[in-house]
């Protein structure tokens, strides 16, 4: 496990090990635990009272806009990270600073727009 991708290989192997451990634990649980299902046991719990109707219900999802905003700001953060690492290197300096300020300005405008539109408040 050496070279540039060596560190990543460790992570990949770890994912496999993690999945194996968890699936193994669940399998062992399956083998050791008693299984005596009954109609009452298999009922959806909800809040303790017998469920009425289907599990699906129509509701107003008030926070779906946040997922759009999340995409914008997550990308913003991903751009900021490499910038922050090279910022202090020689040859970057002031131009980098100005460019990032312009970028952050646009992002700030975005959140201001969402704010003014009332997206961020409970409706």
């Amino acid at each position: 496990m050496d070279g540039y991708f060596g560190s990543y290989a460790v992570v990949a192997v770890l994912i496999v090990i993690g999945v194996v451990i968890y699936v193994g634990a669940l399998t062992i649980n399956r083998l050791l635990s008693p299984i005596r299902p009954s109609a009452e046991k298999l009922l959806t719990y909800e809040c303790g009272v017998d469920p009425v109707g289907e599990g699906w219900a129509q509701t107003q999802v008030r926070y779906y806009v946040f997922t759009y905003l999340y995409v914008v700001f997550a990308v913003d953060a991903v751009f900021l990270f490499p910038w922050a690492t090279v910022f202090a290197d020689p040859g970057f300096g002031l131009t980098t600073l100005v460019e990032m300020f312009v970028f952050l300005g646009f992002i700030a405008l975005g959140i201001l727009y969402a704010w003014r539109k009332g997206v961020l408040s409970w409706t």
């Binding site: 062992i28 700001f73 953060a77 922050a84 202090a88 700030a108 961020l120």
Partner: protein
């Protein structure tokens, strides 16, 4: 300008990816065991600590001081009948706990426990692996955990679980942005995203020479970047769904939230496990980013051997325990916030402040780096401050206007209700009373008004 003092330098990125496979295996097993035991005794510590804070005894039956309580609970969950309600989406219902628990463990692989040590004759850093994008990796794993939450809520086919899942995911992704932005200032100073090198960068503070005076700068970023740290603390509570931001599990509203249908079986234990491991991860990240990682705190650091060998693991563990106790302390002290307050705090306060703070830190950093063009940088900073001021003013005036409009509307409505109490649907109170709109700038008047309304309603 900035001169680095000589300090204990730990491993850097180049030291990773050289371990023989069996060393990696030892470290991986160690992390796994560490986290498992951490969760078991973390749960015990939390229950014991919070009950002492609330004048109770807490668990005291299983083992000495109730130490084995979590072990007993874990065994019980492992051997319990695993119910899968009839209506659930079976595949998603099974996958969700795995999707939430595996990334939680993965994130710990880049946490630095200590410097280079000799392990069975091999020189190796006390850290499983390090990546050039290590911190980004932690954030990515936290995002993967959100899939587990959403899928658990979706697969359960229960309205409570579904709403809890949606709520929780909206909260976690909102706070994750603020968390990422709060870390940018650290990267600006450290110049890297690799955790081991961030720890190195905090080994010794530089000196700031200003007009012949040389002022030593503190080495831990918690001092220099205190606003970043504050934002990080708030977001780490939000990110792990802990009190005061534990709305996904608001019992009064959503029963158990996204894991309502996982009747306390092994699958539920995995959600529990993931929650605690996430707490350890954000604590470890806080320690690595702001508290110098495994480096010894001040009085101990005077001893030369403090930052060598296996000792740093002890300092790291001590810091982790303190961070965990902070979580418990917060849980004992604070009430739960309302959902709209939570979102408003995240989007209207934490994110704008983070952005402004990044701009400020970058400018100051540029000033310290370049002796040359200070006037230009200062002018830019001035322009930015003026622009922010103008924006805030515009914002504030419009908000004031809206507030006044709303107050006028509320007054008008109360006047109408006073003249004609049945307008609100007497004897059943109207579903939407003016004071539900949250206007309370003049409580005295409002209270008098409502008293009049009730007295007239009684007549």
């Amino acid at each position: 300008m900035t001169t680095m003092l000589a300090g204990p330098i730990g491993p850097s990125l180049a030291d990773f990816g050289k371990d023989p496979w069996w060393i990696s295996l030892i470290k991986a097993v160690f992390i796994f065991v560490f986290l498992m035991l951490g969760v078991l005794f973390g749960v015990w510590t939390e229950r014991k600590l919070i009950s002492r804070m609330q004048n109770r005894y807490g668990p005291n039956r299983a083992g000495k001081f109730g130490l084995l309580q979590s072990v007993a609970d874990g065994l019980k969950m492992g051997l319990k009948e695993d119910l899968m309600p009839r209506t659930v989406d079976r595949v998603v219902f099974f996958l969700a706990p795995v999707i939430i628990a595996v990334p939680a463990f993965l994130a710990f692989s880049i946490v630095p426990f200590g410097p280079m040590v000799s392990m069975f004759g091999v020189q190796t850093p006390l850290q499983l692996t390090d990546l050039p994008v290590a911190v980004l990796f932690v954030l990515a794993m936290a995002s993967m955990g959100v899939y587990g939450i959403v899928l658990a809520g979706w697969g359960s086919r229960s309205p409570y679980a579904l709403l809890g899942g949606l709520r929780s995911s909206a909260q976690v992704i909102s706070y994750e942005i603020a968390m990422a932005l709060s870390l940018v200032a650290v990267f600006l100073f450290a110049g890297t995203l690799s955790t081991s090198e961030i720890v190195n960068a905090q080994a010794a503070g530089g000196t700031w020479e200003i007009g012949g005076l040389s002022i030593p700068l503190p080495s831990w970023y918690v001092v220099m970047l205190f606003p970043s740290f504050l934002i990080y603390v708030v977001t780490m509570l939000g990110e792990t769904n802990r009190v005061p931001f534990d709305l996904p599990e608001g019992e009064g509203e959503l029963v158990g939230g996204f894991h309502t249908e996982y009747s306390s079986s092994l699958k539920f234990a995995m959600f529990m496990l993931a929650e605690y491991v996430n707490m350890f991860t954000v604590s470890a990240l806080a320690i690595t980013m702001f508290f110098g990682g495994w480096q010894a705190p001040w009085p101990i650091s005077l001893w030369d051997g403090a930052n060598t060998g296996w000792w740093p693991m002890l300092w790291f563990f001590g810091k982790l325990v303190i961070a965990f106790c902070f979580f418990v302390w917060v849980r004992a002290s604070l009430p739960r916030v309302r959902y709209d307050q939570l979102m408003a705090l995240g989007w209207k306060l934490l994110i704008p402040i983070s952005l402004a703070w990044i701009v400020l830190v970058a400018t100051v950093r540029a000033l310290r780096l370049e002796g040359g063009d200070r006037t230009l940088v200062m002018a830019m900073l001035g322009v930015i401050v003026v622009v922010i001021g103008v924006l805030y003013y515009a914002f504030d005036t419009s908000r004031e206007r809206k507030k006044k409009d709303q107050q006028a509307q509320v007054r008008e409505e109360f006047a109408r209700l006073r003249n004609e109490p049945t307008a609100g649907g007497f004897p059943v109170p109207p579903l939407d009373l003016p004071h539900y709109h949250g206007v309370s700038s003049r409580p005295a008047v409002t209270r008098a008004d409502s008293k009049e309304v009730t007295s007239e309603a009684k007549v």
